[in-house]
Symmetry: C2
Subunit: 355 residues, 2 copies
Amino acid sequence: MEKKLSCTLAGGKVTDVLFANDIKDLSSHLSSYGNNVFWVFDNNSAALFSSLPEKRIVLESGERYKTMESLGKILSAALSFSSARDTRFIAFGGGVVCDMTALAASLYMRGARLTLVPTTLLCMVDASLGGKTAIDFEGGKNLVGTFYPADEVLISIDTLRTLPAKEYKCGLGEVVKHAFLAEGDELFRFMDENSQKIISRDKEVLTDMVFRSLVVKKTFIEADPTETRGIRSFLNLGHTFAHALESMGNYTVSHGEAVAWGISRALDAGVYAGVTDASMRDRALSMLKKYGFAVNYRIGRGDWLAYNQALAKDKKKISGSIKFVLLSDFGKPLLIPLEQKFIQSAVMQSAKISF
Amino acid sequence: MEKKLSCTLAGGKVTDVLFANDIKDLSSHLSSYGNNVFWVFDNNSAALFSSLPEKRIVLESGERYKTMESLGKILSAALSFSSARDTRFIAFGGGVVCDMTALAASLYMRGARLTLVPTTLLCMVDASLGGKTAIDFEGGKNLVGTFYPADEVLISIDTLRTLPAKEYKCGLGEVVKHAFLAEGDELFRFMDENSQKIISRDKEVLTDMVFRSLVVKKTFIEADPTETRGIRSFLNLGHTFAHALESMGNYTVSHGEAVAWGISRALDAGVYAGVTDASMRDRALSMLKKYGFAVNYRIGRGDWLAYNQALAKDKKKISGSIKFVLLSDFGKPLLIPLEQKFIQSAVMQSAKISF
């Protein structure tokens, strides 16, 4: 394992991100923890093992199990193995497993040790770094959680080899977001120029891409570890547009695809509002198209009301006004309210643009 | 309200402790928060009000409701009132209400605002300050929780007027503990000399006592906000002896009384182990007797095995050895393992002392 990144987060806690050369390298690092450990898998990630460690729990896979009930099961299993405050919780899986295990670790005796081993691209570049832990609660996504940075995040690019195409594309949506948020257009050009190698999952290029993506995330989360300074919210680029689409429920693409779509809409809205340069928007959309993101999709005129209502429910809403992350350039996000007409023009089919 | 104390705790968060002149003063401060609030009571504390605020939940009273189920009810009620991250959770009650509300506030959208209004002496001098939040879990007391310091702790000595005598004595057990942990013997002498006024709940003396007690707690928790440096564990003076007694379940005094008993045993054990001066122990025991603490109680010879097994289960046990907090003098605690014979001699009826 090679330490590639250290990130100082909530409570001054430092998360080290280590990259494995291969699965063997990962296994040997995990073995070095000894026996004072407790593993959390889901059905998908458990299937990657020929035999599972003894002190473990295997959860059902999927967002609909990201519940308080599952959290109780994790804590109960940890207790059944006589875990202590110095026991290391090891999450092995995607975002649901990592978010829930991290929450359980933060709660167990007020804080056990924590290692995250993300096995999806989305989790590698997003959920695993930053200290956010969560379960869903009564329809609210990630409504219940803590800030509890992992001690270590272990990344093995090899685990991406068997990731379903849809999941892989989902992760790319968040990488693309980081490409727009990075200072300068270096990561953007990397994504633009290496699209074929990235789509074919070239290991060397992927390693580079995940690392660069994490470096971008690091700058935002270190500057605002507990999301109180308005900086971390820039990482929601595309998300407000995306969440409303997802919550309408009639759009079947993944979260990452919704985010890529949401970024396109933020770029459009930015152009309409005079914030974003049209040529920058066009360059951005052309890159997104290379990855097969449906940047031209618009909601039907009949769905506008439902979409607008979904927008109003966004949990980032504070005292009445929804703010959107727009881009004035690469690495130059702004958080501003948007006039209704700009939102409508950006998301709706053949809306008349009359301004 | 008058700010008497500020305490910098986990994550650099500052808790302000404010004292109210009277109930009116407290009410007016609580009103100043406006309408973006969410109240948590239990049956006991709710009974102090002629009419309750609208956005509230009233829990069943008692430690046996300090569960994940109650936690879910608090979060669910908060959500039902459309609480946001900037909503202030207000806990009004004793330790169970304050610990659970604080945990819920730490989890709700990863951290809502938090005000604690302790209405028992125990909660005023102990649970309300320090950032520890908790529920019990599968038989483990406070096994699940977070470190999440309150923004404000509001103390109104008037709420102690109607506190049942047993509850009041319970709180005194923790004050006494702070008297032994304070640098010098100033708080000890205060407790020794003012015992009559304290027992009769003289408001002026009580205000002074609670304030002095919090000042002692502040020094230990500020030096070790997340209990990782071994300093905060000194606040467990008497607790290891006490917990084992409580968990045997055949001793019906309150937690605070058990702690006072445990301190007496720690003083005895300290004398036997050559750590504590006998004259200091005698002076200490004579003060404890003034408050009616059963310092002379010993467990029966037939209960020794059960007591010893209960000791072995203490959650402060790390990798095999239990450590006890002993006192070499006022304000000079030590955390050390104790030989079996010293433990036995300190807690057991007419054990032969042969060393």
